[in-house]
Amino acid sequence: MNVKVKERYNWPVTILLILGLITVIFPLYMTIVIAFKQPSEMTNSIAGILSLPKSWSLSNFSEAMRVTDFWRSLRNSLLITGVTVVLSILLHSMVGYAIGRNKAKKKWYNLAYLYIVSGMFVPFAILMMPLVKQTAQWGIANIIGVILCYLVFYMPMNLMLYSGYLVNIPVALEEAARVDGATTWTTYWKIIFPIMSPMHATVAVITALSVWNDVMTPLVIMSGSGLNTLPLAQMSFQTQFGTNYNLAFASYLLALLPLLIFYIICQKQILNGVVNGAVK
C-alpha cells in the first residue's frame, strides 16, 4: 500500500517546481551574501558578488542599524501596524455587524454599506495631496494621521468581509441572550465578536501585511515629522548608503526579516487569511 502511494507522486512536475524555485530564492540568496560581505570582497565579476562571504561577520548589520536608526523605525512600524490591526478588528467588525444585520431590511444601512464599499474604487493618488494638507491643518501629520488613514483605506474591504461572515451567524443566538436580559451592546461583544474570530484572523493578516509594507502613506503624511517606518527608512537613507551596497543590503535584509520570521511562524494562518480575503 505504501509503495503504491509513493509511486503516484508526479516526480517530473516536482522537479520542475523545485528548479523554478530558483526565481524565488536567487534574489534572497543574493541579498544575504551581499549583506554579509565586505566591500573589498565585491570584485567586479559575478563570482565576486555571488560567492559566499569569507566570514559571516555581523558588522554590516550593526552599522546599518546605526545609520538608519533601525530600532526607532522598527518601533514606528510595529506601533502603526499593531494599533491599525487592533482598531480595524474592533471598529470594522462593529460597523460590519451593525450594517450587516440591517442592510437587507433598512434602506439607510444599505446605503451606508454601498457608500463605504465604493471607497474601494478610490485610488490613493487622488486622496494623497488633499490628505497631506488636511492632516497638516488638523495637526495630525504624524503616526496618528497615518493610522486614521489606514483605518479608512481598509474599511471597505473589511466591512465586506465582516458583513459577509455575519450571514452565517444566526440571529437566534442574539435573541437567546435578549431573553437573559442582555443589551445589544453586550450581546455583540460577549457573543457575536468572539464567534467572528476566524474573520478577525483574516482581517488581521491582510491588514498587517498591507500596512507593514506600505510606503506611500507614511511617505507623504509623515515626511515633515522626520519619522520613518522600516520600509520608508530604506528610501530615506539611499543617499547615505551611497555605493556601499553591502551596507544597503544589510539594511534591506533587516527590513525584510520581521515579516519573514512572521511568515515562518504563522505560514498557515497567513495563507488562509490571504486567500479568504481575496476570494470572499
Partner: protein, 283 residues
C-alpha cells in the same frame, strides 16, 4: 418594544461614528481634490480659479500622455505574464507532487516582502548582475527596455498572490469531473480548456481585477527601480501625481490628473465586474 429601541440605538451608535471617520478621510479629501483641480494651486500660497484650464492642458500635455501610455502598457503586459505564469504554477502545485505544502509555502514568499525593498534588490540585480552575465548595459538605463524591468519586478510579487488564489480555485474542482472527463478521453490541453478552466473562471476574474488594478496604481517599484527615468520613460500615473503634485508645484494640475485617473480606475473596475458577471452567467 423597549428592546427594539435599544437595538436600533445601538446599531446607530455603532455606525455613525465610523461613517463620519470614513467621510473625513475618504470623501472629504476626494471632494477637496476635485475642487483643487479647478485651481492653479501650487501647493502653497494663494491660488485662483482657472475653470477647466487644467483639464484642457491635461489632454495636451505630452508628459501626462506618456505616463498613461506607460502605465497602461505596463499593466497589460504584467497582468498577462502574471496570470499565465501563476496558472501554470498553480496547476503544478495542485498536482500530485512531493513536498506539496513546502513548495506552496516557498512560492508565496515574494508576496509578503515589501515592494520597495524588493525593488531595491532587483535594481542591483538589473544594474550589476544581468549586465555582467550578458555583457550588456543595464536595462534600467534604456528608454526602450526599462519598463520591462518594472514588469518583471511587479510580476515576481504578484505571481505569488495569484498562484495561491488559483490553487484555492483548483481545489474546488471535484475529482469526479476529471474522472468523467477521462472517460470521454479528455487529456492535457483539452482537459484544461474544456473542464478545468471553465470551473475556475470566478478565480480567474478575481485575479484579473486584483492584479490589473494594482498594476495601474504602481508606485513603489517605480520609486525603487527608475524614479520615472530614464528620460521620463517609466513615469506611472501615481508617480507623476506624487512627483509633480507634491514637490513640482503642480498641485492643481495634478489634482485634475488624479480626477481623470480616478475615473479611469472606476471605469476599469465597473467594466471588469460587468464582463465577469456576464461570463459567470453563461456557465
Amino acid at each position: 418594544m423597549k428592546y427594539s429601541n435599544d437595538r436600533q440605538r445601538t446599531f446607530m451608535l455603532m455606525t455613525i461614528p465610523v461613517v463620519l471617520l470614513f467621510f473625513a478621510f475618504n470623501t472629504l479629501p476626494l471632494i477637496k481634490g476635485f475642487i483643487y483641480s479647478f485651481t492653479n494651486f501650487k501647493g502653497y500660497g494663494t491660488y485662483d480659479w482657472v475653470g477647466f484650464r487644467n483639464y484642457i492642458d491635461l489632454f495636451q500635455d505630452a508628459r501626462v500622455g506618456k505616463s498613461y501610455l506607460f502605465t497602461l502598457k505596463m499593466a497589460v503586459l504584467a497582468t498577462i505574464v502574471t496570470n499565465v505564469v501563476s496558472l501554470i504554477l498553480a496547476l503544478g502545485l495542485n498536482s500530485k507532487i512531493r513536498f506539496k505544502s513546502a513548495l506552496r509555502g516557498m512560492y508565496f514568499i515574494p508576496n509578503i516582502l515589501g515592494a520597495l525593498v524588493v525593488g531595491y534588490i532587483f535594481n542591483y540585480f538589473f544594474t550589476y548582475i544581468l549586465p555582467s552575465l550578458f555583457n550588456t548595459t543595464s536595462i534600467l538605463a534604456s528608454t526602450t527596455w526599462a519598463w520591462v524591468g518594472i514588469v518583471v519586478v511587479c510580476a515576481w510579487q504578484a505571481i505569488a498572490m495569484n498562484t495561491i488564489i488559483y490553487i484555492s480555485g483548483l481545489s474546488t474542482v471535484p475529482e469526479e469531473v476529471y474522472e468523467a472527463g477521462s472517460i470521454d478521453g479528455a487529456t492535457g490541453w483539452s482537459k484544461f480548456k474544456n473542464l478545468t478552466f471553465p470551473l475556475i473562471i470566478p478565480f480567474f476574474s478575481i485575479n484579473m481585477v486584483l492584479s490589473g488594478k494594482n498594476f495601474l496604481m504602481v508606485f513603489d517599484q517605480i520609486m525603487a527601480l527608475t524614479k520615472g527615468g530614464p528620460a521620463q520613460s517609466t513615469e506611472s500615473i501615481s508617480f507623476l501625481i506624487y512627483n509633480n503634485g507634491m514637490a513640482g508645484g503642480q498641485f492643481g494640475f495634478q489634482s485634475a490628473n488624479a480626477v481623470v485617473f480616478f475615473i479611469v480606475i472606476v471605469a476599469f473596475s465597473v467594466a471588469q465586474l460587468r464582463f465577469t458577471s456576464s461570463k459567470e452567467e453563461q456557465l
